[in-house]
Assembly symmetry: C2
Homo-oligomer: 221 residues x 2
Amino acid sequence: MDFSQGVPEPTLRRLPTYCHFLRRLAQDGADVVSCRQIGDALHLDPTQIRKDLAYAGMAGRPKVGYPVPELLAGVENFLGWNNTQQAILVGAGSLGTALLGYKAMDRNGVRIVAAFDTSPDKTFQAIHQVKVLPMRKLVDLVGRMQIHVGILTVPAESAQTVCDLMVQAGIRAIWNFAPVALKVPDTVIVQNENLFSSLAVLSSRLQSTFQPRTLPEEDPS
Amino acid sequence: MDFSQGVPEPTLRRLPTYCHFLRRLAQDGADVVSCRQIGDALHLDPTQIRKDLAYAGMAGRPKVGYPVPELLAGVENFLGWNNTQQAILVGAGSLGTALLGYKAMDRNGVRIVAAFDTSPDKTFQAIHQVKVLPMRKLVDLVGRMQIHVGILTVPAESAQTVCDLMVQAGIRAIWNFAPVALKVPDTVIVQNENLFSSLAVLSSRLQSTFQPRTLPEEDPS
DNA sequence: TTTTTCTCGATAAAAATTTCTCGATTGGCA
DNA sequence: TGCCAATCGAGAAATTTTTATCGAGAAAAA
Ligand SMILES: NC(=O)c1ccc[n+]([C@@H]2O[C@H](COP(=O)([O-])OP(=O)(O)OC[C@H]3O[C@@H](n4cnc5c(N)ncnc54)[C@H](O)[C@@H]3O)[C@@H](O)[C@H]2O)c1
Ligand SMILES: NC(=O)c1ccc[n+]([C@@H]2O[C@H](COP(=O)([O-])OP(=O)(O)OC[C@H]3O[C@@H](n4cnc5c(N)ncnc54)[C@H](O)[C@@H]3O)[C@@H](O)[C@H]2O)c1
């Protein structure tokens, strides 16, 4: 398999889905699983799954499939989900609160160890067992705890400012929920999460079921 | 331009970003904008932007660029964001509450007109001015108000049940936040929103900055 | 007016990704 | 044991998406 370019992003995006499915399978006590089974459950092409798993370094056996526990462990390991990254979250608003309360995060590679906010109403409280601190504590805490991941859930207009602060503090990867393109040094990774992108795909598809964009060819009947 | 296959999904996912940028530009009173400017601001290739805009049916003028108001209106119109879809949300928990409070939704093609939940603690209250109703009211309301879009924010184990109910009620498109592959008839559109996909891309990238997956060639020094 | 420069539109090339095909391996079963 | 069916792995082909190139139009400058 060709690793010179790293793993294709689409593959990377599918792997967590496999993980989730495999976990349920493991709970149900399944020993082995074939790509076909996974494909049926997840509505994906078996060949593609096989290729994705190969990227993650997993091999199966003909006629049998993949051993579920090994496969799960292998994929989780590949994604770096067994040594959880510690993260901070900035912006303990609606979305921030939801993320703080999202228990599944722990099992998926990230643990939020502290939140930050400007609002005095929020600071020095705990939201879902995570302390909310004032912004001035950010740089020190990030440096002291060697935190690499920052989650950005402040309004769009504050995003760049907060981003700069994160970078200054030593954050290496930013998960950005604000709908802006952050400016960062080359050494910092930004992953944008844009809800409206998905929504656009949905509305566009929906719209085209009402009034298809393509005029149909003459019916050959 | 070739519309026989519909618009490419990557294009569709980029369009909302352009919209957001254009809105700010329009607020600032800009008359025209070139692909180059957009590309600089959004860190994208100008050629790609031009192609995306062409898919949306927008044309510019050489040397000048695109007129901002027309471009914005055109893209919004293309995405169906000017005749807002009404939607219901099921699962008024952490995430559901955040979405109900997300004001920007209105400007991006979807208005949540009602929420539903099984928990008696939640029902008959209003969250962010949206009423939360018990599940038994769902089918009637969806039918009566001719609602086509459903937002699914219940725990994974309830997702399929709720999905079936939505389909039965006449929902045509489901925006699914639960990490499961829903089973629906062909006529129903499902758009999955999987946070952990993005997170996987982020952690994988971060991991490879620490220990690149590719063994480096012999150092030529 | 003429020249220069910028930007679009269309087409072509390149790259990435998905899908297909085929042979090989394995386990089950007569 | 020997055959059959299921499944994997690898490479080829097809498709999709991104990037590059070129000519032309339009404004600004000379
Ligand atoms: N609510 C959603 O469902 C949702 C979904 C997707 C994306 N988003 C995006 O997430 C961001 C936050 O949305 P929200 O709905 O949670 O908003 P919100 O207003 O509820 O929360 C924002 C929080 O950030 C804090 N804040 C503001 N400026 C700050 C600063 N300079 N430094 C630190 N903290 C600051 C505020 O005190 C507030 O607590 C927005 O950019 C929004 O576009 C929200
Ligand atoms: N919290 C997050 O940040 C987050 C992020 C991404 C995805 N998700 C996903 O969104 C879903 C909800 O997450 P959450 O954190 O909001 O959970 P939550 O427990 O806070 O909320 C779930 C809500 O759904 C309601 N509910 C449960 N079963 C129901 C049913 N059968 N019919 C109607 N309502 C029902 C509950 O009463 C509760 O109000 C989960 O599938 C989760 O994986 C959550």
